[in-house]
């Protein structure tokens, strides 16, 4: 007989709200069920009410950690729609920010996974080292989180030699720290005990379940948008795709640590090859109307492939923006991974995909009385909305008075 253990939406293991129902026998998990929808913010709908430029600052709030990836991905898609010629220097600055973001995101994640397995010391260490990146990001953009550096057609701020020299220092520092962390992780007995062989996702399953990002690469799948479909300046940047054949949480740690080293190399390359002068943005104003067009923009965010579909109807506002974040692609694999493991393995496995719940949240209708859950398609949603407004219209009007 299995016992139901609900975890979330409020639990110290989870930094963001999601609800899992684990069916356990003793301490072993036999089945699990994710239940998302606690922080749905309706951002996709909101983009249709805002202009192309206002959306830049809305979409970077999709995720706090990978704000630049979201904004850059949207800007990249919008540039395709506007058919803009983006100056080369802008692409360099944008890529620099993306790679810095990858560094601090991976450092943050490394701290979180260490906290999940009870190794708080390494958590403190990685978050301390992360501050170096955050300071640099603040120096370049003026803000620590949500840098707002991208705009449609380029970037908003130029970069000077002080920032570049500091970027070089930070890249060297983080690379040396990453090597230290790799040494610690591979030698510390208790970390190996907790992560080696935990949450195994075989290569076949990783492809079958459509995992993306470091989760897929830790299962030996060469899946990296920077490598497979180079965007911005990644076709010039020399870098190796990092994969590992361990397929477990340990190899997810190793892949991310090695990716930090690769990112540091890319940052160094960008610093040395950054064009000296030149414009940083194409001329697109708030009142430039785009042609009727549609675009698919893909960016390798720190957590994996980020996918934007943008459609324009020729007006100042986009007709549709569809976002697919990496967490939504990866969350299904968690269910596959936890089966057969202990309750104690839940935190490292769930944290192992680097989940960002509020990025990926979707709406589900839950009937509390009958304990039923259903999803709405577009037509049903429209019909429901019309019905609701017919019923509540008078009440709403009175409320406004």
């Amino acid at each position: 007989m299995s016992v139901k253990i609900p975890i979330g939406p409020i639990h110290p293991m989870l930094k963001e709200p999601i609800n899992f129902t684990f069916y356990v026998e003793g301490e072993t998990i036999v089945d699990a069920e994710p239940n998302i929808g606690f922080v749905h913010r309706g951002i996709e709908k909101l983009t249709e009410n805002k202009t192309w430029f206002q959306n830049l600052y809305l979409l970077e709030k999709v995720c706090g950690i990978c704000s630049s990836s979201h904004q850059g991905c949207y800007a990249q898609g919008a540039e395709m729609i506007f058919e803009a010629n983006v100056p080369e220097k802008a692409l360099y600055i944008r890529t620099l920010m993306w790679e810095l973001e990858r560094l601090h995101s991976h450092l943050l994640w490394l701290g979180v996974i260490m906290h999940e397995i009870g190794f708080d010391t390494l958590f403190m260490y990685t978050w301390r080292d992360r501050e170096a990146v955050m300071d640099l990001v603040e120096m370049i953009s003026g803000r620590r989180v949500g840098y707002s550096i991208n705009t449609i057609g380029g970037v908003r701020r130029d970069i000077d030699y002080r920032m570049l020299s500091k970027a070089l220092d930070v890249a060297n520092f983080i690379a040396s720290r990453a090597e230290f962390y790799e040494r610690v992780v591979l030698r510390e007995r208790t970390i190996l005990d907790r992560t080696d062989g935990v949450g195994v996702l075989s290569k076949v399953d990783a492809i079958r379940l459509n995992t993306v990002g470091p989760t897929a690469r830790a299962s030996g799948v060469k899946r990296d948008i920077r490598y497979n479909l180079p965007y911005a300046i990644y076709d010039e940047t020399p870098f190796d795709i990092v994969t590992d054949d361990g397929c477990d949480v340990l190899s997810r740690i190793i892949v991310r640590i090695r990716e930090m080293i690769v990112s540091a190399e890319i940052i160094k390359w960008i610093v040395f090859n950054m064009p000296k002068n030149g414009p940083i943005a194409a001329k697109i104003t708030h009142f430039t109307k785009p042609p009727e067009n549609e675009a698919i923009s893909r960016v390798e965010a720190p957590r994996g492939e980020l996918f934007y579909y943008i459609k324009s109807n020729g007006s100042l506002k986009p007709e549709r923006v569809k976002i697919r974040t990496p967490t939504l692609a990866n969350i299904v694999s968690v269910i596959h991974m936890v089966k057969g493991h202990y309750i104690a393995d839940i935190p490292p496995i769930v944290a192992g995909i680097d989940p960002c719940m509020s990025c990926m949240d979707r709406v589900a209708i839950i009937d509390v009385r009958n304990d039923k859950k259903s999803l709405f398609n577009h037509d049903q949603l429209v019909r429901y909305a019309i019905k609701w407004y017919k019923k509540n219209y008078r009440w709403l009007r009175e409320e406004r008075r």
């Binding site: 253990i5 293991m13 906290h115 010391t121 958590f123 301390r128 202990y342 104690a344």
Partner: protein, 321 residues
Amino acid sequence: MILLIYAFALSALFIFFSFLIEWIERKIVARIQSRIGPFFAGPRGLLQPLADFLKLMSKEDIVPIGADELLLTIIPILLASLATFVLMFIPIFTPDPLISYPADLIYIIGLSASIGALIVMTGYINPGPYSNVGAARFGELFLSFEIPFAVSVAVPAIISGSASIAEIVKFQENGIPIIVFAPLGFILLLISLIAKVEKVPFDIAEAETEIAGGWQVELSGRRLAFYRLTMNLETLFAAALCVALYLGAGYGPLLDTLGSAMYFVWFFIKLILVVFVISLIEGIMARLRVDQVLRIFWRYMVPLSFLQLILALFVRLIITL
């Protein structure tokens, strides 16, 4: 009557020292993790544990629905008093503890085991899966560490030929601590005591990220304050037991010239040394899984403790010859 007042004063002193130990431990762990640690309450944050305790005491009193209120009121008080009482057997301030009689070591093992049993009970009288899982995990841990603990406490008794702590301490008066005769026993005692006070890597029963605090999760306010006090007193007890049984209690150089005050100074220095080791292990390790903890204890610790028991008999034979 005087004895009673003395006991009260001693209890207050124990509580003070347990807070001091918590502060030292928090500071050491903070320094390992490149943090500052307690800072604002009192000089260098010295009063932080007391402030935490008082704050918890002033919180709203909540009894979870479905829990036994009477038991939840009795058990914390019982636990804190047991933890204080068990400390009275250990000669911390003077070579003669407040309570001492032949074979009190066995009584101590029993008392500390009953503390563990009460903790398991707390987990089960509270409703909710986390609490119950935490209690089950503490029960498993408790069964595992109790054998190495009891055996490694018995080893000094075998070597010194007496089951009274005061006698064992007197045995080390000549300057040779028992750790010289039984280093393995000391390591076993230290590891099982880390499990007993639920520190990393054996904090599976509270495991914040897994089961949200385990058996403590439903506790709040005054009850939680008493449980925390119990854990502090247990830490003091664990460190003091290591010092008294294995590290030669308060005996050390300069004792003859400076008198009996030096006894406590030496005891305290050794106490801090043990606390430092416990904190260091807490700082540099990750939490193990339940099955791994059980494997460590049953596959390595229990057989090693039996080996140590046999070795102790040989040592005793050589000493008496």
